[in-house]
Assembly symmetry: C2
Homo-oligomer: 370 residues x 2
């Protein structure tokens, strides 16, 4: 089956309140998806993710392919069972990490040859292989294999990169359709399969983005992502690319902007009609002492918090803000204690998930009023 | 007030089921106390410690004195409030860490001059200063300042070391009695104070241990610890020292063996009449991939667990064993993920706390039957 997406409320700016009916869970949209790179949202136990209301998390195909290996995960019933996350999951295609983490990349129409950042071993990812790996992992939503065009990229480079991505999108889709019944939980789910999303690329060129979107829509994916953003371009360019691309994507399918963003960005994009977003920012920033609060970002290591007995964010009622003080989080962070990463990450995720909960509520209210 | 200890059930081997009435909590004994060095049981959030049934945890005076500083903690109302642990706590005297972690120690009758392992700054710990710091931290149970005699130590060295410890015990007690009302929570607790325990030293010499115990008992502490064990001596020597010392300690006061031990040891000592024990082993081993199970220790990194979907310990019903597989813990540990330390530590603590729960129950049954 393909993804069942219902957009049941829309506002003038394009934002819509919706619902994704996935094999392992119904997900309320717009949704922010915490990133669980190697089968774990770093430093946060699964039961806490559940209590924070996370409905869908990411896994990274590149990392899981290298360790513990997709065949091992397939033999254990898929990623959901392996990491004990019985809710929704999404895997990326592996492309982004191949380009950002691995060494000695050699790209061709066929795919990418690269060396592992772990042990230097040589590997090849093709669209077909990315699909095989993602089918073995068995996330509910998987992504077409693409090349994330770097920034800045001149037009010739962006065109060439897009040519790879478009050819690989077609091959990803064909291979997925031929093999989707091989997902580890096919039988136990009564014959459900994964959903495959295509990825719009094209650098920062609006006409290339248009061409990319139109060709992908012709191929008829289960949904569409906008990739290659938040790679160093100015924020207004990110916004321009999203604003230019969203109207080209079908309204009855989910729309996903990959790898964004700051709290104000995810709110803005959600209100423009983006249904799904993911970003390492809340958890990565947390591991670097940066906390998001209603009053802005704070570096919890700052000396001013040394004896501050107030909660990290006075407007937050997450389990961290209810129990611990800024002084304690500063102490843990300064001392390099493992609990710092855990508590800081929990708060930042609660903050991000709380924004989306509020946005969903606002979309309902605005649409009902309109 | 002094510690209120009730030993309400004893068995022939000396083991007794008891209860410690402390300022912040009643603690069922025999008890195992997880070690929370720098104000955190490494990698484990406080609410999980509560759900595991931990009734009392340790803090290390040396670490907290250096960072964030005992005066800061005093100003914030004491360690309980600072780390949000409203239950019982114990702090050591700082002596052990001064001797094991700091540099350029210079010992005299007065006390110890040392350099911080963090920044090389120079500090002096005397018995009076250790008491001041521990009163500022405000743990329910605090320890006399002592020198932990190294192993091996010849008789002359053990005698000299014991002379320091005995002189410091007297001064610790006098200073504590003069200043105990300065504990940060004195008023709010209705005038309760901390309990001070003396520490038996004497190396591996039974007569020195006897001399140490007898002199401490004369001083009339709130309870007695046996220190200077598990410092490298053979296990049978540890046992001999404990067996030789316990009968010299009053039956109506708590008896604490510091820094032990393996699971079979804590069970054995508890059945011999030791009421309190602490050890970094369950958490430190966890961070090094070592899990304790009913069937013995396992190194979760071993390849044999790569696709083992069974729980870490099939006989354990802790939150980790109920949810996660050996394969997943192996993956997290191998990948160096933060969640590995958290989950491995939770299981090992559950294992240790479970042993003591069972021992308490067995002591009740045996005493009732006897």
């Amino acid at each position: 089956m393909t993804v069942n997406f219902t957009a049941f409320n829309s506002i003038a700016s394009g934002g819509r309140r919706g619902r994704l009916d996935l094999s392992h869970r119904t997900v309320e949209t717009p949704v922010f998806m915490p990133v669980g790179t190697a089968g774990t949202v770093k430093a946060v136990p699964q039961d806490i993710l559940e209590s924070l209301g996370a409905e869908i998390i990411l896994g990274n195909t590149y990392h899981l392919y290298l360790r513990p290996g997709h065949e091992a995960i397939r033999r254990m019933g898929g990623l959901h069972r392996f990491i004990s996350w019985p809710h929704a999951m999404l895997t990326d295609s592996g492309g982004f990490q191949v380009f950002s983490l691995s060494a000695l990349r050699k790209i061709s129409d066929e795919g990418v040859r690269f060396r592992s950042h772990l042990d230097g071993s040589s590997h090849v990812f093709t669209p077909e292989h990315s699909m095989d790996v993602q089918i073995a992992l068995g996330a509910d939503v998987i992504m077409a294999f693409d090349e994330c065009t770097e920034y800045p990229a001149d037009r010739a480079r962006a065109e060439k990169s897009l040519r790879y991505t478009m050819g690989w999108a077609r091959r990803s889709l064909d291979h997925f359709r031929a093999h989707r019944n091989e997902v580890p939980w096919f039988e136990e789910s009564g014959g459900r399969t994964q959903s495959l999303l295509g990825i719009v690329q094209g650098g920062m060129y609006r006409d290339l983005r248009r061409e990319s979107a139109e060709r992908l829509v012709e191929m008829d994916f289960d949904g569409y992502a906008i990739g290659g953003l938040a790679v160093g371009e100015p924020r207004e360019v990110t916004l321009e690319m999203i604003a230019g691309t969203l109207p080209l994507l079908p309204r009855d399918k989910p729309r996903y902007v990959m790898g964004v963003g700051y709290p104000d960005e995810i709110e803005l994009y959600a209100k423009m009609g983006v249904d799904m977003m993911d970003c390492v920012l809340p958890t990565r920033a947390a591991r670097h002492a940066l906390l998001f609060t209603r009053d802005g970002r704070i570096n919890i290591k700052n000396k001013q918090y040394a004896e501050d007995q107030g909660p990290p964010d006075p407007n937050c009622d997450c389990m961290v803000c209810r129990r611990y003080s800024r002084a304690y989080l500063r102490h843990l962070t300064t001392a390099g204690e493992a609990l710092a990463a855990t508590l800081n990450s929990i708060h930042n995720l609660a903050f991000y998930l709380g924004i989306m909960r509020r946005v969903r509520s606002e979309l309902e209210t605005a649409a009902n009023a309109g």
